[in-house]
């Protein structure tokens, strides 16, 4: 039986109310992987997904247990002479953050006009469901897919996918991967991402006295751990906002002028970046645009800080400790292990007498570049042209998806980063949302992607394709 895209598209278009219902069910499960208190919810999310994969017609579905949260795998291998596409997505989400910053309950998926609001609607539940909608559409209409497909749905992406490599090595073979967990350039303006930043996450704890002290009795003579932590954090950047850890930029690959011109052409203006962030003035490394600072240059952010009295009122204490959560974003050719060691040395050098500092590295992900000359990129470009009616730009992204590097090293496969989030989606923040018309077109694009991958000349096993539209050449060359 031949899988026909037109029938699948027609089917998908009649099922859009169903798509929203399914998205709502999945968003309502608070799959917060970072919080041990939500482990049961992450499990429920995996079970829901396994049922959903069976419901859409995938014959081979398993929940793969790990030492952390499970991976849900669903596979269709009905085309033995065709390649196997790995569809990677993640069903875990970021913590909701302060509840009063949300205008609707974070785990409720409320419809607001063309938008659906809730944690994970964009990152990544809505996007992974677009792929599943395309798979369902083929299986319902043709009983077959254009290529073999293995879905690997991760429950630990937001905490660095620590158990994914083992699962990939044991449970999976594929020729190519697609990951939809990045942003488009704008509404109706698809983008294929060609580079992701790596990351090092760490907890920095500073300890002073063994217990909270009365600040009247000891204030002035005892080093306050909050003050010490602030001073340590102050040494991480110079006054311009560049990172001041010695050696930090040593292995940053500098772009040449042509590459920078291409980035400037493909990316948003400084004004657009700051407007989307909602700030009037930026801050960062001197001599780089906002888009460069957030994609091809590294960054260091403090994700959280806590110490001493919390909540309302005051408490006149010198607290025993204070803690900060650090997140560093790396670019080629920075290596997470080397950066973690530099950070550790820097903290050890800066910590003052009478204070002990403990740095715990909680995650390491190397930066990755994808191959823009890979023929699957052509297939993705054509799929976007059909799905969105527009040729995608090829751009670097500032985000981190641990799975992409793991897929390359564990399975030796190339990944196409074809994301369907919009710049204003607010992923990781409050009131995260997804644009339903964009998600519906994403499902159409996924239908076309499977079709286009099958249409590659596979007789020779050669993925090479010479067809490339002129509009993307400049952006391709920059990566």
């Amino acid at each position: 039986m031949t899988a026909a895209p037109q029938a699948a598209l027609r089917w998908a278009r009649t099922r859009r109310a169903g798509f929203l219902r399914v998205l709502r069910e999945l968003v309502e499960i608070p799959t917060v992987s970072a919080d041990p208190g939500h482990a049961g919810d992450v499990r429920r999310g995996a079970e829901w997904l396994a049922r959903h994969l069976r419901r859409i017609g995938l014959p081979d579905v398993v929940i793969v247990d790990t030492a952390g949260h499970p991976v849900v795998r669903g596979a269709w291998r009905g085309a033995p002479h065709r390649p196997t596409l790995l569809v990677y997505g993640h069903y875990d989400v970021q913590p909701a953050g302060p509840p009063d910053a949300w205008r609707t309950p974070p785990f409720a998926a409320r419809r607001r006009g063309d938008w659906v609001v809730g944690r994970g609607t964009s990152d990544n539940k809505g996007q992974l469901l677009a792929h599943l909608a395309a798979i369902e559409a083929y299986l319902r209409t043709s009983g077959a897919l254009p290529v073999n497909v293995v879905c690997m749905l991760d429950g630990e992406e937001e905490i660095g996918s620590p158990h994914l490599p083992g699962v990939l090595a044991r449970e999976c073979r594929a020729d190519l991967a697609v990951v939809s967990d990045t942003r488009m350039a704008g509404r109706g303006r698809p983008a294929i991402v060609t580079a992701l930043r790596g990351s090092v996450t760490a907890e920095l704890e500073v300890r002073g006295p063994p217990r909270a002290l009365h600040s009247g009795t000891y204030g002035g003579a005892v080093h306050n751990p909050i003050t010490a932590l602030c001073a340590l954090i102050g040494t991480l950047h110079d006054t311009d906002g560049a990172i001041a850890i010695p050696g930090f930029y040593r292995h940053v690959r500098e772009l040449d002028p042509d590459e920078r011109a291409a980035v400037a052409m493909a990316g948003p203006t400084d004004r657009a970046v700051l407007d989307r962030a909602g700030v009037t003035r930026g801050r960062g490394e001197r001599g780089f645009t906002a888009f460069e600072r957030t994609t091809v240059r590294p960054a260091l952010d403090v994700h959280g800080i806590t110490g001493g009295h919390q909540g309302p009122g005051n408490s006149s204490i010198i607290p025993p400790s204070a803690t900060a959560k650090l997140g560093l974003r790396l670019v080629p050719d920075q290596r997470p292990d080397e950066i973690a060691a530099m950070l550790r040395r820097h903290v050890a050098r800066q910590v003052p007498g009478g204070i002990r500092a403990r740095l715990r590295i909680t995650g390491r992900t190397p930066p990755v570049r994808t191959d823009p000359t890979h023929p699957a990129v052509d297939a993705a470009i054509r799929a976007c042209e059909r799905g969105y009616g527009a040729t995608p730009v090829l751009v670097p992204s500032g985000g981190t998806i641990p799975a992409v590097g793991q897929l390359a090293t564990t399975l030796g496969v190339e990944t196409v980063l074809l994301g369907f989030a919009l710049p204003g989606d607010g992923s990781h923040g409050p009131n995260e949302r997804a644009h339903l018309p964009t998600l519906f077109r994403a499902a159409d694009t996924c239908v076309w992607l499977l079709h286009e991958l099958a249409a590659q000349d596979l007789a020779t096993g050669d993925w090479f394709s010479a067809s490339r539209t002129p509009a993307t050449i400049a952006a391709l060359e920059l990566t």
Copy 2:
């Protein structure tokens, strides 16, 4: 009827089990004034105290409502030709802080050998009950007190006693005050405090983007409010630990060499201060001892800091805001209003572009010195010699008691600061405790204090007394 100290002492000594039971009942009421969630408990504490004041025989007891927490007043005015002593204490307590830092429940008053452990056992419930035990002992045995007494028991000391001045002005007349809310020099070593530091408390909030942003998408181009807050806090001290707010030391009264020598003689060594704090190395203004830094020099501490992701795990965000709670301790002749204005100007100058800072002053208390030549100090010295068998030292304290300055300005009365806490009590910290033998002797000392005050030559209305023991002369002169 004449109030006889010996009978009162005998009575008090047979009632020590009762003292512990009463302390336990009061500690079990979590009267945390800083937390609006405990407002009902503070009210219950006031009602418990009013019942207790009636139970011990005070005829005139009222709960004085304020716009905040109530003041409990109990008075005995049966000696019209004798002076009136105001006994000030506070029944509110500091927040318990992190529960897992406590070895016993904070609001349970558990007996541990000679100690009783729980929030408020030392600061200030145990100490105020020592006065009430002395009053009860006289009333039970003689039916009268040696002098008139008005007890004013404050429910807002730990939040700066904002409503006390109004209550004092309306509800109270007195000739002299005694406050037992400071520390002794050690076990069996009483101390009369001659100076208290003032304070300015403030919340410093820093705001950046209007919502939490994805640190992958915006990290490197947007100023992180946590980083900005840490940098601001970093500007508050210089590298030695002196306060770097311009003009901050302008009105600090410098001690002359004789005064410094007297402080050195009366106070603990650096080693003793740091040992009690549990730290191996101190930090503070260069050229001053630890005792000076914590008493006659000002200080600035951060009591709490909060921003971004809290709790376990990580969340890759640039948060919209971060907040620190600041506490400044002032010495003569620093004025809280002027210091608050200096802090505000400093913050305004230091806040970087793209960041908004809001400084909210939450408390202002001027520093105070008491008059060591006041005859009531002689009475207190003699009371200590009888109660503890030791002559008290006269020392400055680093703490802040807003009531003391308010008593002077509102009622025009001098205060004797005769405290019964021990250096290791851990007030404001976890496992706060009180030493029962010390509290029992405190009750004896309060019996003697009432007697000694009555024994002053009051015929001329002249409180002057020439008798002063040589051991205290040096310390007296320093203040």
